[in-house]
Amino acid sequence: AQSVAQPEDQVNVAEGNPLTVKCTYSVSGNPYLFWYVQYPNRGLQFLLKYITGDNLVKGSYGFEAEFNKSQTSFHLKKPSALVSDSALYFCAVRSASYGNNRLAFGKGNQVVVIP
């Protein structure tokens, strides 16, 4: 079974401040982890992924995430938030088993960046 928990419904942050969106996961075996962003009435846009290797991964638009195997977490971070970062963020996991394409998503976090 695969599952993701995003404990906060909404994250409010002032423009220019650091942004963190939390994610914990559960999966059998090794995980592939992903962050996606969704703007209103749009599909999901890929931000970054962890497959293997360095626990700190860097992605699009200045976002990064840290994989922590012992805490089963993959928190998304940005050092300085922009108003344009306001959107819905989804964490997703799938097991690394060959042929498994099923992504399990969290319920999403609404990020509001206050000018």
Binding site: N41, R42, L44, G99, N101, R102, L103, K107
Partner: protein
């Protein structure tokens, strides 16, 4: 390079009717998955197609079926529509069965009345 394209963008159907949604994957992608995103929820996996066969299926009833064509495009069919089928339906594609991320289309908003 066009990304994942879905049609139509919006659709209104009556309970009991049938609907077909279409997806063209990103160029070079041969694996297509479908997801249902209800309002205020994360996407839920419906099924995945590779080499024109359904390879994996989520917890959805048989009313949900699909097809993949030789050009890798795909259709999602839903029969006997229920009000609860109202959602954003997302198509995702990626190359092969390996470690790559999925790319999503903009979705089809289905409203069942």
């Amino acid at each position: 390079d066009a990304g994942v394209t879905q049609s139509p963008t919006h659709l209104i159907k009556t309970r009991g009717q049938q609907v077909t949604l279409r997806c063209s994957p990103k160029s070079g992608h041969d694996t297509v998955s479908w997801y249902q995103q209800a309002l205020g929820q994360g996407p839920q996996f419906i099924f995945q197609y590779y080499e024109e066969e359904e390879r994996q299926r989520g917890n959805f009833p048989d009313r949900f079926s699909g097809h993949q064509f030789p050009n890798y495009s795909s259709e999602l069919n839903v029969n006997a529509l229920l009000l609860g089928d109202s959602a954003l339906y997302l198509c995702a594609s990626r190359p092969g069965q390996g470690r790559t991320e999925a790319f999503f289309g903009q979705g089809t908003r289905l409203t069942v009345v």
